[in-house]
Symmetry: C2
Subunit: 482 residues, 2 copies
């Protein structure tokens, strides 16, 4: 452990960070006893209180377990959470290690900064702010968002075109009902794509029309043939394949919109985390009059906040706000004021920067795990976001790997789960690396590696049997058709 | 000012309360300079710090204005708030004194207790609570509500039948869409009644059928003739007339439900504030299988929280939760956890008790103002809630009084605003006394009294002219037909 007395960072913070890193990279593994605070304090020539504080902080975060007067140890990875209510209403057991895509690291939620923003914005709010609010959203938040989205994502807008909604689910629902009232009967969606989005579209009485995605993103030629009046796309990092919409396709999509009057709904769900290049620009910045830009806090902070936004062309504002007002009279006010304060104070930018580094490191470790344990499994879509697509060779059946994961309590999700049609497609896993808590990441990656190694070994054996020969090394990573 | 050293209440709290009362009842009027903290401390034989604290508390609440080193004075009544967005989308100027019904005293919001509940529940929440929640509502809150509603309102339920929604607007919207999917085309509503409720029903594609209200509440005979399959009622304190549904009508309404299979939606919007009798029981307690019980925090704490609940018969739960999940995937989690904590700690009960005393006192002052300035205006519906109905004699035209109020920047609301049909009805004002801040109540009541006195005097003059005689005293309060 290195302590740098000249860095300006408090010693307890440095110490806690050093211990986190040691657990994270496996130098300290589950159950290892840490030195007593007195002993470690003497070793590092810091006061015992510094060590006590660092241990307490790490225990609160779940990295260490400590009993008063007892030994402090590295805590075991978390056990299953209480069951989530499934779509069927029944409670399903949660896997011990969950590679579910689309969930951020909830243990990294900046609780202290969020509570501080809440306390400050609440203290500043006049009594009138506790009455019914503007159903379009609190003006201070719409102002903060217009400025933030312009700066971070190049979105061209002003506060009068921003609509605050309770999660993107509500945003899609509002849009669908307005489009339906204007005579639309269908909305095109990406295949594979966001399953929940398709369900919401159908629930609003519109037909979700599946348009295939290839390595350049949405097949705009197929969209044009579908004769729908609106399309929902994820251009920056397609969900779930991870591909970016190519320049040619972007141009074609906007040309389609201009020619047919079709509306483009740009779901920018995780583009704030881009690792390998400068962030891709938005479609909205190219054509703000025909594109609805949609984003939320669910990937950046937490889904539980239920805060999302639409940036819309002027002609849609009044209808959308009318539906929002009839739905729930506007989202809760205090959380909107909190978010405005959180953005204005720079706390969101700080959280985003820290998270980006952490997620990039986690992505690299997932890629490394694949390479080490199952080199025939090829990671793609890794340039951004909280998940990657692990393409399986034909010998490795998606459903079998998912089942093998379940046996080890490793939550894996096949690409088939996101398919909107029966089109043939290669097998793949959508591996989310946001939801795995950092203090469990070592064990989670080991379990992932073991699952994939088992699947790859089984595939090699069956290939060898089919070929009537002994297996002689790994199958090449680049299989035709994969 | 009386200070009681044996009461157990801190001296600063006693002093602040005594000053509030003095401002409230007019002994201290706007602009009056208070003694210096040193001088008042000496007068009362308390330390200067006690006076400083009391002044600071009152300044924070808006009763006093103070500059550091300057004189502390009684603060002026509040000026107009920034405009609310009206139904038309334009900003309307707010009246200086607003007797709008249905808004609680937002300056009395228990900010410290709410923030404490939020801080504690946030600190206790595991990281998993920051993910997507149960769309039916956080289990801890449903549990707390089932117990609270059973204790306070006699509602018969358990947590599995409670659905948390974002305000009662969303509750009505969810119900309407489920009823429509089951084949209903209309929902009966009270006339006069909750205007927003009618709008939401219509927005969901159902026909709001107006059923008249008389001095016993809803005309159940007319409901039976309307052939609708559901009815929304306010049995405890009809909105806006304030009458309670009579025992005979309750029995008739439940008999209608049993006979036709019709659903009763019981909107218990303000029955927690009952002044003159024991609270009336709920319809739900008499027939939980045919009644949806609906309530919210909007009258008890603040509309900005957007927290409401439905208690529903078992056969409706799954459909309602499915619509809620498709609408917004559930209400924000942290506020639900906060409310659960707020209820369990007893803070909601304390706030309710305090508020009840305050609203009852305010109701008495409004009644007294009517008696003193316009005895021909007859207050009714005063046994509960945050508003009363002031019935006008035929000579006093509702619209003219509302206009006279507007000229004095007194927000008055005629009964006609709530009418759902063109049926002839007596003129009346719906006078809300929740939204008037306490520190402005003296001025607000004076302005209300002056407005009504002007209207009454004008009515007397025109009556006298019509009768060709000089006005000789006030018109009798009990006019035929009023």
């Amino acid at each position: 452990v290195q302590i740098d007395r000249s860095s300006g960072t408090p010693l307890r913070t440095q110490l806690a960070q050093a211990i986190r890193t040691a657990i994270d990279d496996g130098r300290l593994s589950y159950g290892v006893a840490l030195p007593s605070s007195r002993a470690l304090g003497e070793d590092l020539a810091v006061s015992r209180g510094v060590v006590v504080d660092a241990y307490a902080q790490l225990a609160a975060e779940g990295w260490l377990s400590a009993r008063p007067g007892g030994t402090t140890r590295v805590a075991p990875p978390p056990v299953a959470q209480p069951g989530r209510r499934g779509a069927s209403g029944g409670a399903a057991a949660e896997p011990r290690f969950d590679f579910r895509p689309g969930i951020p690291d909830l243990e990294a939620f900046p609780r202290a900064a969020w509570m501080a923003a809440m306390r400050q914005s609440f203290a500043d709010a006049p009594a009138g702010a506790l009455s019914y609010g503007d159903p379009q959203g609190v003006p201070a938040l719409r102002q903060a968002l217009a400025s933030y989205l312009g700066r971070v994502r190049g979105v061209l807008t002003d506060p009068s075109l921003v609509i605050i909604c309770s999660g993107l689910v509500q945003g899609v629902s509002l849009l669908c009902r307005v489009l339906r009232a204007r005579g639309l009967s269908a909305v095109a969606v990406e295949d594979p794509g966001w399953r929940r989005g398709r369900e919401v579209i159908a629930h609003c009485g519109l037909d979700p029309v599946a348009v295939p995605v290839d390595e350049e993103g949405l097949r705009v030629d197929r969209l044009a043939a579908s004769a729908t009046g609106a399309v929902m796309v994820t251009p920056a990092h397609q969900f779930p394949t991870g591909v970016a919409l190519s320049s040619a396709r972007r141009a074609a999509l906007l040309a389609w919109s201009q020619k047919t009057g079709g509306l483009v709904i740009e779901d920018d769900y995780d583009a704030e985390y881009r690792y390998d290049h400068q962030p891709l620009g938005t479609l909205q910045a190219l054509c703000p009059g025909r594109v609805v830009y949609a984003g939320s806090l669910s990937k950046t902070l937490a889904p539980a906040l239920r805060l999302a936004w639409l940036v819309v062309p002027p002609g849609l504002v009044d209808d959308l706000v009318a539906v929002k007002a009839a739905d729930d009279a506007g989202s809760p006010t205090l959380e909107q004021l909190t978010l405005a304060r959180f953005m204005e104070s720079g706390a969101l930018d700080r959280h985003r920067r820290r998270s980006r580094l952490r997620y990039r490191a986690m992505r690299d470790r997932v890629v490394g795990t694949l390479a080490a344990h199952a080199p025939e499994v090829r990671p793609t879509g890794i340039a951004a976001g909280l998940h990657l697509l692990a393409r399986l060779p034909p010998e490795m059946a998606e459903a079998e790997i998912v089942a093998a994961g379940a046996r080890r309590s490793v939550g894996l999700y096949g690409l088939g789960f996101y398919a909107a049609s029966d089109r043939p497609r290669p097998g793949a896993l959508v591996i989310g690396f946001g939801a795995v808590p950092r203090h469990a990441s070592q064990a989670a990656l080991a379990a992932l590696g073991a699952t994939l190694a088992e699947g790859a070994a089984g595939a090699r054996r069956s290939t060898a049997r089919r070929h009537g020969a002994l297996a002689a090394g790994p199958v090449p990573a680049q299989l035709p058709g994969a």
